[in-house]
């Protein structure tokens, strides 16, 4: 199938899967991912690996837009009120998930390198699928607010932890000669560059977007400006070796704090991006190798159990002393189980930097991503329902004529 036909096929199949999802009362995202698995190269093969490679650009744009939306949570006013709580929750749930996975791997006889890298990756909660479930449910309330903030910081924290662990392993694992300053510098450079550089790029593009948006009135122009800025940000991130996730997050955060037009911009985005997100999740599903589930083994089970434990118990422990409602405290962990994008991206980095342990780490992560991507959206919807934050979808008012 050529790329255009496969794109059309993906959209129509996603729509069909969304309908089936609604009938089965499961999130549309799960329907899209399930549809992707079915049509992907590992089951029916209607979409080939070549198609996926060509369509990867859509995933990049969609992920950029999703992270941009999440960035809107970091508004100064809101952060002053809830930032402390969100930071504490993120630190505890991430720390607990990382500790449980690392400890479990060490008990299972794995090396420190494998255990620490898996611990760092276990921190990540997939921003895209969680946010899409919140959107689908039109959720509003303290759980939605807290969850959005936690996911935003969580992804930065995951990347930071991974960079720290990777640099630490290179320095202590004998891979870098400590007396060779240049080698030492090469190990530490990615750690600083990925965080500081990505935030700097996100800030600059955000300022550009905020200033220009004052002079843009039409909805069409607004969308052109927004898409252009996000594409620029993702593209430049790739050229400079930065994290497109953090940079896009930075654009959203800068925009929401500098521009009075931010609400209009985010609304315009919300009305036009569903096809892109449908493509993103079907492609994400098609990329999931369901056959890996058979290879998960004991180590995979330890990883899944450790991460589940950390993600479920962490938010509950962290919110005990807060004034968040009881339903939110019980449900927050349940909403944070998804894992995908960043974790998969980090396995590629491990392949380059630690080729000798890559087969073990990557098999565990990629197999467990299949599990978490299938149960994550379901549990997120359940959490939103339990906390009573699901609202009916507003009627469409944006008539074309």
């Amino acid at each position: 199938m050529n790329e255009l036909a496969s794109l059309g096929f993906i959209l129509l199949f996603a729509l069909f899967a969304g309908h089936v999802g609604k009938l089965l009362r499961i999130p549309e995202v799960t329907g899209y991912i399930g549809a992707g698995i079915v049509v992907g190269p590992y089951v029916f093969g209607w979409i080939s690996h070549d198609n996926l490679e060509t369509l990867a650009v859509f995933s990049e744009v969609a992920l950029g837009l999703i992270l941009f939306s999440i960035g809107s949570v970091f508004e100064f006013g809101r952060m002053r009120a809830t930032g402390g709580t969100i930071a504490v929750i993120t630190l505890i749930e991430s720390g607990l998930a990382a500790t449980l996975v690392t400890g479990g791997m060490l008990i299972a006889g794995q090396s420190w390198a494998v255990a620490l890298l898996l611990g760092a990756i276990a921190i990540e909660t997939a921003a895209a699928s969680t946010l899409m479930v919140m959107r689908e449910c039109n959720s509003q309330g303290p759980l939605t607010e807290t969850l959005t903030g936690v996911i935003g910081i969580n992804n930065v924290l995951c990347l930071l932890a991974f960079s720290l662990v990777a640099a630490g392993l290179q320095l202590t694992g004998g891979l870098v000669d400590p007396s060779d300053w240049y080698a030492l510098y090469s190990a530490i450079y990615p750690l600083v560059w990925q965080i500081a550089g990505s935030l700097a790029l996100g800030f600059l593009v955000g300022v550009l977007l905020a200033l220009w948006s004052k002079h843009v009135v039409e909805k069409g122009e607004t969308l052109i400006l927004l898409t252009g800025c996000v594409l620029l940000c993702v593209g430049v991130s790739h050229v400079l070796g930065l994290s497109p996730l953090i940079a896009s997050l930075g654009v959203g955060a800068t925009m929401v704090n500098l521009s009075a037009e931010s609400r209009r911009l985010f609304q315009a985005l919300g009305q036009t991006d569903p096809p892109l997100y449908a493509i993103f999740f079907v492609i994400a599903g098609a990329d999931l190798n369901i056959k890996l589930l058979t290879t998960i083994g004991v180590l995979g089970a330890i990883y899944v159990a450790g991460r589940l434990g950390g993600k479920l118990a962490g938010p509950w422990l962290a919110t005990r002393k807060t004034n968040l409602p009881q339903a939110v405290r019980k449900s927050l962990g349940l909403a944070m189980l998804s894992q995908a994008g960043l974790a998969i991206g980090l396995t590629i980095t491990i392949g380059h930097r630690f080729p000798e342990i890559a087969p073990v780490v990557n098999t565990i992560v990629l197999a467990s991503v299949v599990i978490f991507e299938l149960i994550g959206p379901l549990s997120a919807k359940m959490a939103l329902a339990r906390s009573g934050e699901i609202r009916a979808q507003p009627p469409l008012t944006d008539h074309s004529f």
Binding site: G174, L175, V176, D177, D180, Y182, A183, Y185, S186, A187, Y189, W193, A196, G197, L199, A200, L201, F203, L204, V207, L240, G241, L258, S259, A260, S262, P355, E356, P359
Partner: protein, 266 residues
Amino acid sequence: MKADIPVRQRYIAILCVVALVILVAGVLLRPTKIPVPVRSESEIYRLQLLAEQRDLQNTRLFFEGKARDLVAKSQAARATPDKFPFRSPATGEYMLLVSAQESGQPVWAVTAAAGVVKTRCEDRELEEVGTTISIPASLSNAVAFNLDGDVAGLVVACGDKRIVTTPDGLRQASRKTIRDLLVECCGLKFAVARDAAEIIEVGEDSRLKKAGVRPGDRVIALNGQPIRADSDLEPLLGGGEIQLSIDRPRKVRPRTLKVPAIEAPK
């Protein structure tokens, strides 16, 4: 309203400059040389072994995938090997010998083609595609494919071993020989040796038997022509009169037998 919030333009400008400086500095200070990791010789050897193992594993998976595809393709299309395009293998080209088990799982082996030569298998002359492996019994009825999925040959038994032959050679070999035809027409079995055809068996109702030919006779000439190959006995298949010079054991001189012509049906 956000527009009413005083935005400190100066601070934003300063932050923009800082961000720019970070980006420019980051690009300029990027390590250009990839540092060579410190690794002991044994570590390097271990990593090499790992890489080789991975390569071997990938190669095995590649061929296994190909074999599965070919079996699935031929089973889905209910295709026999002659339905696939045939291409004679070049010397050194990979060939995948594939046979399907009853469960549908493929049995396979990989070999390189080592040229095509004529070879004798019992009484047949076949075109043999040389292989770099000894073909196991589990691949007795396998088809040899090249990596493009074209048929490169068929595995056939040749004595106590198995060889790859070209489909063309197999077709030629399966044509009836003079020997087969003589068995059919006259129940005649013989062996050609030392310029004579030694009769092993002759049909009870055949005109040869009626003319007096017996097992153990050595036919040294047919219509005056010496017997050096199977083809020299071809006139026996016709219906005309034939003179056979026969050397019989314990007889001093050869004798001549006249085989009468077959009477045309009235």
